[in-house]
Subunit: 341 residues, 4 copies
């Protein structure tokens, strides 16, 4: 099984849900929610792609970074590369259902461990999906992170308790799910959070607490004030608010404001090793990856996921050689030129 075969199988198994395009840029699938596309005209998905594409790399060949080290330490773990599998649910709703929710969740979580990194699991209008994710985390001795929808605080705290029982290494909420007004129709209302509510959540657990869905400096500062341990700069893959800025549009301003005070993850259209390098150069500590992981799972279960992540690792290493970065700490903004705006 190689990556090309995995993608081909995924293409067949996700037919009608994802075309696994040569270039994954949000155009073909625009508006396909449910599905794999961005909401509305798909502009926020496309902007993630464009704003990242406008970050160019400075090729550099005279240096001694002959065998770069791609590993990082994060949440007390050493990972082979600065890549964490993003929380995704709804295998039957968004991906076509060739994999059951449990199969998808196991593929993502176990495949990530096999590739020496970790996965986040997600939450949904169907509360069973959250449990499926925790079950996968249990299978890898808790080496995963549980991300919960921005439900009422009491519900979130219940979910955090379950994650603690599963031995998860961290928890968090994807606060960018606040606009999923359809969840209220299923009796599962979600919404934005105030600073006070965030503080209550943070104080409810001893686990590191992550806030996913920060896209402006003001919110990043509030996240620091709330005491959370990490933020994920993310527009939810362009699936909640059309015409949002892209992650690469806002990341460096957020890093300028809160870098060093809080762990910063970037989640937006990471498709190649070079994309990881770009976000690190813009100031992120690590990135999340979603759609390529889904292709790996649909094309080859946990082994497919491992293949995808290993490929990212090789590409990242090659990109570090060609930009002169001997380790992740060496990747800074001298390695890129930002053509945005």
């Amino acid at each position: 099984m190689n990556l090309k075969e995995v993608k081909q199988l995924a293409r067949e198994r996700m037919k009608g849900y994802c075309r696994v395009c040569k270039e994954c840029n949000g155009i073909a699938c625009a508006g396909e929610v449910p599905g794999m596309g961005g909401c509305g005209s798909g502009d926020s998905f496309k902007r993630n792609y464009e704003s990242l594409k406008n970050i160019k790399l400075v090729l550099k060949t005279i240096h001694d970074a002959k065998n770069p080290d791609t590993s990082i330490e994060i949440f007390g773990r050493k990972l082979d590369l600065p890549l964490i599998t993003a929380p995704v649910t709804g295998s039957s709703i968004n991906m076509g259902g060739y994999l059951s929710e449990e199969e998808y969740s196991d593929s993502a979580v176990i495949g990530s461990i096999k590739a020496n990194t970790i996965a986040m699991t997600g939450d949904s209008a169907n509360p069973d999906f959250y449990i499926a994710g925790l079950n996968s985390i249990k299978k890898v001795n808790g080496e995963g992170i549980a991300i919960i929808k921005p439900r009422e605080n009491s519900k979130i705290i219940e979910c955090i308790r379950k994650a603690e029982e599963a031995g998860a290494i961290a928890v968090g909420i994807d606060i960018d799910g606040a606009g999923l007004v359809t969840m209220a129709l299923h009796g599962q209302p979600v919404g934005p959070k105030t600073l006070e509510e965030l503080k209550e959540l943070k104080e409810s657990t001893k686990l590191p607490f992550i806030l996913k869905g920060i896209m402006c400096v003001e919110d990043a500062l509030l996240a620091v004030e709330a005491g959370v341990d990490a933020i994920v700069v993310s527009n939810h893959g362009g699936r909640v608010l059309n015409h949002s800025l892209g992650v690469a549009d806002v990341l460096s301003d957020i890093v300028k404001a809160v870098g060093g005070k809080i762990t910063i993850l970037a989640d937006g259209n990471v498709r190649e090793g070079t994309d990881i390098l770009k976000y690190i150069a813009l100031g992120a500590d690590a990135v999340l990856v979603a759609r390529p992981i889904i292709w790996g799972a649909y094309g080859g279960y946990d082994e497919g996921v491992k293949l995808v992540i290993d490929n990212f690792k090789n590409e990242l290493k090659q990109a570090m050689i060609l930009t002169g970065c001997k380790d992740i700490k060496s990747i800074d903004n001298t390695k890129i030129v930002n053509l945005n705006r």
Copy 2:
């Protein structure tokens, strides 16, 4: 009946006139006047689309705007959302004629009322169309606005008298129709207006008087000097002058010049709730919507129009949640980033 079905029906019923494209951007229908396109190469329609697309939203999730209020007060009425149905005529000429002029007009006016907003009705080379609009307004007890072509003042004042008799809540002229030189061929000459002529029109009625088709600061200042009550920033959907600037190119300068002194409406390629939020953030008090209302009418008469407007309302509310706006007044230019120019 849902929105997807309405659009599918509209697509069939408008065949040859409107493709109801996935993304309504003026490309496929370029030059189709009569029809639904922009004039010439369609550039002004396309620029409305592009300049609005270049306004990006700042996603924000830490706040207490959990249940935003989308309502506004305008022309002495409370509307459920800052959206007014735009004046459109020529069902048989521009839309294919599946609906008679009366059916279209009724659908737009009554559908708007059912969605708790109001419609403007239009005027044309065929004076019957103006009367059709007034008849629809009468059916909703005058809860509509009559927009008249920029004919000779004496003719306009006759039209205003009829609108007053119909009980309309406001009147106005779409002065951007000044270039419709073909109307003279039908014995219905139109043209631009001088300041003095505008004053005469304003003074001819006690109803609020609206000037539609302002695209520069100089004209906005003259509108204020003429004493009109509201302007509509509009390039007539790109249907009168090719290569015009887009509405989102000029709106904020106009707001800077006359904001607070006069009501400002924006009319340019509003297709989603996010588009309403953008124009409000640029300083408009409300927006006009044309093509999507036509799809609603052609796909489902007044109920189709109501569906379309209700969908805008839901989308706007979701967008307000995800940008942290608890009411329409809270929507300001901190909610957007302007990538134009």
Copy 3:
């Protein structure tokens, strides 16, 4: 016969040479020289299109320019509009040959007169084509301008003598033909000119002398120094040098340098009345039109050419109404916004 029919006939008669595209932008015909395209990758043709498209118009409706006057005086003649038919030869080579050289030339020259403007005629590797043009000029009592390729001065002066005999109202050279190295293969060498050579040409005749093919300030200043009467800002329709700047890129700088000292014509992708208005607003005294005239000739001989020009006149008038210009002198740079660069 209407314009749509003329274009349809032209499309059929020019099959394999010109597609008469909905939008004439140099893409479909890129590299088709001979033919109607730009040379190489067609970039200079495309840039004429793009740079002009990036000039946007300021729609204005409050004013008293209700019946604009489109006429101008130039070379001692009053023209109905600031449009002169561009010099074009090679009907059989570039256009497919449905019209003989004489038929094309007559159509262009006589059609222009019928529309109350004038034409330039051209020159070519085949010297008969120059004579064909002069013969057409004779048929309209000399009311035309003879443009000669930048041959050796002695040859040019011979050609000027013939133009004088034909009664032409002005003569000139299209110095941008300097790069047509293939002409030397036919024993008709062409090339650039020095200041001294230009002076000799200017002094060789009492007719107004025109220099076509100026694309930089330095050359415009030299043209003034040489004493020529008019320059045409032109990159030869993108047919001699790939990757040239567009006419709308360079025009205003040239106007700043030599405006008022010399007549300035602009020749680059004029396709609608709005395009004329744009070039006038950038400082040109009048424009040249080539490809649309060819469509007129191929679709309807001199009557087709007249139709095309009359349509330009109507469009220009409508554009002047909608930008508030009561005459050509009123068209200045407050009427446009330049989005180039």
Copy 4:
């Protein structure tokens, strides 16, 4: 045999490997490595194209450069034009194999000599390819340059010895091949070089030493410090690092830093004579050409290569006439306008 026929034959013979597109811009072949495309999404290939396209030429016609001299002196040789054939290997791997490695190498080297310029030959995971190149160089009495992959220094020095024996006029390494991690799998590890390693290479030979693959000022300064004789500004045709800047993005900064101290060659999407002029205007001493040479070889062996180069010469001469450059030294940055960024 003419150029059109050569390209048509190449198109047939390279089927599945190169489409010989009308416009060679990296889009159709994106990701085709092996093959002729750029790696990953092909962005670095595309950026070479775009950044060069954004350099526009200043058309100029009043001057005395009627018969420009396109020749240069470089590496002690006089060349008919500032174009050197780029080092390319892998006829069977990347081009489809209609030509054997030897046939390709001979075509490139001998064809270049026939056109009065010279070729570089390349190196590969298969060491036979390097030998094939040297054999071709021997056939033209050493009038060629051997470019070696950035192997271990001892291996490179062995290769240099062989080049000296073949009588090559210069040697060098394509250090941008440093990221070809797959070469290690074939027991041929490559990598970046330190300043000390470069000094050792330079000192190992009396031949001029060339460093190919410099894309930033810092590396250009190190190259000067290492004492190398020439650098090639190149991102390896976009085949090693996705999302690199384009050659035309970085060239002028590099020239500002080291121009005059070292020979500077530019290698990025040269497809027409105008492209040569652009890179010279940005400060290069000469350019490399790869893909068009391959088309020449596949379509007509050495005669095809000669045809391609002769065509470049004619186009360059025409471009020099139309920009007023009497020789290569006259080509400076007043001849261009840079629209990048």
